[in-house]
């Protein structure tokens, strides 16, 4: 048996379809035009390999064990900021999500306004807001929590609204038929249906916030980021190594946890059908 070696596109003339060619060509032309802006320089890239290797070599040091308690404290602070910001964002985005869902909003104007507000809130990265809030309330974890909560309200509110918009209308009608009021319809007709998806969203946001919280320290907004940047700038590789490893461990742990929880929720939802 000989393996098939002919590469042929499953189209009439055996060539790639036109939209595929067009999009690839567009991207390539855009990259060619912007190459000078990004300062792409192969010689520089290859030349930097030696430096990368040297950097990797520098990482093979004995970690600074005396630094460990401080590291754990900073890591705990990072995790605490993540939780607090997510909790605040959850509290704020639940009502906002309800107002921004087309089928739950009291009025279409409210819907439009809240939608636009949410997209404004999530437009800028946490780091920019952290910079602004640090200038407003001073250094420390408080501006970090504010920046995280502010941006993730924008994301969570949008996700919640989209989840509420796809709930089964029959159950809403059923609750309405019992004479439920405006709030009761939303509380007992819509929210229970959207709840499994909400949990998935919250896990996703928790994950996102943890990643963001690890770098917020860069602008003085608390967490491990400050130590990370300082050890990098001062070439303290014996500190950089444990910091990088601890970030990797914590992020991976939460990543796995949220993956597992999400797949359990999806399977649970399938079992019911």
């Amino acid at each position: 048996m000989t393996p098939i070696l002919i590469w042929r596109w499953p189209t009439r003339n055996g060539l790639p379809p036109l939209p595929a060619i067009a999009s690839v060509v567009t991207v390539l032309v855009a990259m060619w035009l912007t190459a000078s802006l990004v300062e792409v320089d192969l010689a520089r890239l290859i030349g930097s390999l030696g430096k990368m290797a040297a950097f990797a070599g520098n990482m093979f040091v004995m970690p600074d064990w005396k630094y460990l308690p401080q590291l754990l404290g900073k890591m705990l602070e990072t995790i605490e900021m993540t939780f607090l910001a997510t909790a605040i964002a959850l509290l704020v985005s639940l009502p906002l999500g309800l107002l921004a869902a087309r089928n739950a909003t009291p009025h279409l104007i409210v819907y439009r306004l809240v939608r636009d507000l949410l997209s404004l809130m999530r437009a800028m990265p946490e780091l920019v807001w952290a910079l602004v809030f640090v200038s407003a309330v001073g250094l420390g974890p408080l501006p970090g929590v504010m920046a995280l909560a502010f941006v993730t309200v924008g994301f969570m509110g949008k996700f919640f609204a989209e989840t509420i918009e796809v709930v089964d209308q029959k159950q809403v009608e059923g609750v309405t038929a019992h004479g439920a009021g405006w709030f009761q319809v939303r509380m007992f007709g819509m929210l229970p249906q959207a709840l499994p998806d909400f949990v998935g969203t919250v896990m996703y946001i928790l994950d996102h916030n943890l990643r963001a919280a690890t770098v917020l320290g860069l602008v003085g907004a608390g967490g491990i980021g400050y130590d990370l940047v300082m050890s990098m700038r001062l070439f303290q590789y014996d500190r950089l190594l444990p910091i990088a490893v601890s970030i990797y461990l914590v992020v991976t742990l939460l990543d796995r946890l949220s993956d597992q929880l999400r797949s359990r929720i999806i399977h649970g939802a399938q079992a019911k059908i």
Binding site: V38, R44, S48, L131, S135, A136, P141
Partner: protein
Amino acid sequence: MKLKQTTPPSSALPPKPRNLFPVWLAALLALLWLIVHDLEISFETLAYGVADMGEYFSRYSKPDFSELSRYLELMKVTLATALWGTVFALVVAFFLAPLAARNLAPHPLAYRAAREILNFMRAMPDLLLALIFVAALGLGPLPGALALGVHTAGFLGKFFAESLERVDKGVYEGVTSTGANFPQIVMYAGWPSILREALGYVLYIMDRNVRMASVLGMVGAGGIGLALHDTLRMFNYGQSAALIIVILVTILVIDYASAWLRRRLS
């Protein structure tokens, strides 16, 4: 006619389900209280902060657009960085994702290795990667593009792999039964089945990369971030406001464009 009245035997009633929600809520609130206490967030500071906030934000009320052409130039660099990072991520993910899909991987070891590589790339924050690449390559947008590429390759690869795992088994079996080898299965059964989904993910990542590219400048990786960082540090509120507006408008335009494209895709 008289209805016979029956009372259900009390023992037949199922026990009322225990509602543990208040317990969980109380535990959560206690945890949050502990966190607030531990982070030493005082509500007094917050209250003063909020009171000052109005005055503080009023300083941004006069955006100074005198250097608009320079800002637009910087924004162009930022967008180019995001584009190069996204394409880099796409290329890496294109090769790694089929190996990281459980039902496609030629060998369990290849699956594990690809998954771990993707996990590692995802776990490293892009700002940390940018710091490392800036140290190796020098200042400029290229290290930024590389950092974005490496970090988001982890995300794209994971998304693609999960999509490939969700494809109906029959599709793969059909192509396998013709004697196709691994690359052929991937090219003829894998990618065509998830094309729309994959394009949606690429748009999402492009969106995300534009946002991130606008802050990478803070660590010296080119683009508009450095300018914003400098003007904020020098308390130059007018120019900061102008920069924030430029970033905001660009991101909103990209946001709407990608939402429009995604609607057309589905």
